[in-house]
């Protein structure tokens, strides 16, 4: 686990520049929003991901998260089909703030071509650099 500025960045995940993370599990990926993203949004009061069975494309909208004051799109970091969404978020959207890499996961996606997705994703080190540039 890396810590950059005030933000946690687990080593083994892949990241998008839009602050989503990907955890690879065989042919599926678990995706969510990063610690940086949840800290920027703060106090998440609503989260919604497209229905199970939906096809999602890399970097296209897969859902929205709302804080008290704002609404933000969540972009899928990978291409594939949503096999499972985290239903706990509907009653407890604050899990996204409390545990963004754990209980606050958004969806499981069965991957179409992760090798291709990976070309446009960042490693933890690269993401850390990305955060540093964004913050300064």
């Amino acid at each position: 686990m890396m810590r950059v500025l005030d933000y946690e960045i687990p080593d083994k995940l892949y990241y998008s520049k839009e602050h989503e993370w990907v955890s690879l599990e065989g042919r599926e990926a678990i995706v969510g929003i990063t610690d940086y993203a949840q800290k920027q949004l703060h106090e998440i009061v609503y989260a919604e991901v497209q229905k199970e069975g939906s096809e999602v494309k890399q970097f296209q909208t897969m859902g929205t998260v709302e804080s008290v004051k704002s609404v933000s799109d969540v972009f899928s970091p990978v291409t594939g089909k949503i096999t499972k969404v985290n239903k706990e978020l509907s009653d407890s959207p604050e899990l996204l703030n409390q545990d963004p890499y754990g209980k606050g996961w958004l969806a499981r996606i069965s991957l179409t071509d992760f090798k291709k997705d990976m070309e446009k994703l960042l490693t933890a080190d690269q993401y850390a650099d990305h955060i540093k540039t964004t913050e300064t």
């Binding site: 703060h42 106090e43 609503y46 709302e66 008290v68 004051k69 609404v71």
Partner: protein
Amino acid sequence: MSKVQRVTHLYQFHKQNAKIVEFAGFQMPIWYKGIIPEHMAVRTHVGIFDITHMGRVFITGARSEVFLNHVITNDVSVLTPLSAQYSVMCNENGGIKDDFVTSRLEQEKFLMVYNAANREKDYQWLVQNAKTFNVKVEDVSDNIAMFAVQGPNAQPALQKIADADLSKIERFKCGWTKLAGVDGFVSRTGYTGEDGFEVFVWNTPLSQPENAVKVWNAILKAGEEFGIEPCGLGARDTLRLEAGMCLYGNDIDETITPLEAGLGFVVKLKKDSFIGKDALTKQKTEGIRKKRIGLRMLEKGPNPRPKQEVWKDSQKIGYVTSGTFSPLLECGIAMAYVGIEHATEGETVMVKVREDKLLKAEIVKFPLYDPTKYGYARQK
């Protein structure tokens, strides 16, 4: 127009403790701990807001009462010295130029406090209309710091540093008092629905912020035992929305009349004449066609947001002007304008929260919280 980012006397405090946003040209705190805990602190204990960004003018002269009654819709002749009153001023069409609070400081001296976003516009409008009245309109915004201390514990917290007996100052009354040894002025007014005070620190230009900082810190310290939290503009917005108070630029503007906005109580059509009177008299006679209402979402889902459409029976009947998640009610709430024939409390309507999603909402009266449990009129 060049955009100069302005700050208040408390900028260092805000920068160290809050997330900062730009609002009406000012660098202001949006939250310190978070909108939800700050909101709840005000509803259950007490919170303090820096509202120095607001506009303030003195209006002085023998004819200041006559002038004000010409330019605003409410009647200031009923104000005794050290009383305050909510009002709007309108253009000739009856559209709202701004909403504000006027306090009568002396028989021939008034203080108007209006929206930060309208500082230039309001000042110009007042000066322009004052020409034939021989009154002095003086913008004192930059010389005064202003804080709101709001919540059920506002009085005991503030009393600890005030030499005047604050229990003697009733709602919409004002008084002079030293605060932590500094000359101050307080009015029992606010923008949260709660009991509380708006605190003015005179003669403290930005170049000499010491007195403003001293009073702010003293209130925070005095309020510690009462659960005080510094609060940002985020909680200020959610609190006023629950209370049913309008935000200029969202819920009211120059295309909306006070009658449509449900602010008929500040329009005194019996006054001789005032700007917008003819248009408002005509509208009152003919009847309004749309009206501001409160909404409480009945279904879980995205929260209502400004500009979303309101539907009923497959027809568009209006639009949302303010919408948020309510920290107290823990559901979406909104203000909207709907056709007068639909503006009935208890009716169910739909809010188009997304292109493909309509959610049920109930038309409810303001305030949106239970006034026996929260707000200035709560049962103790």
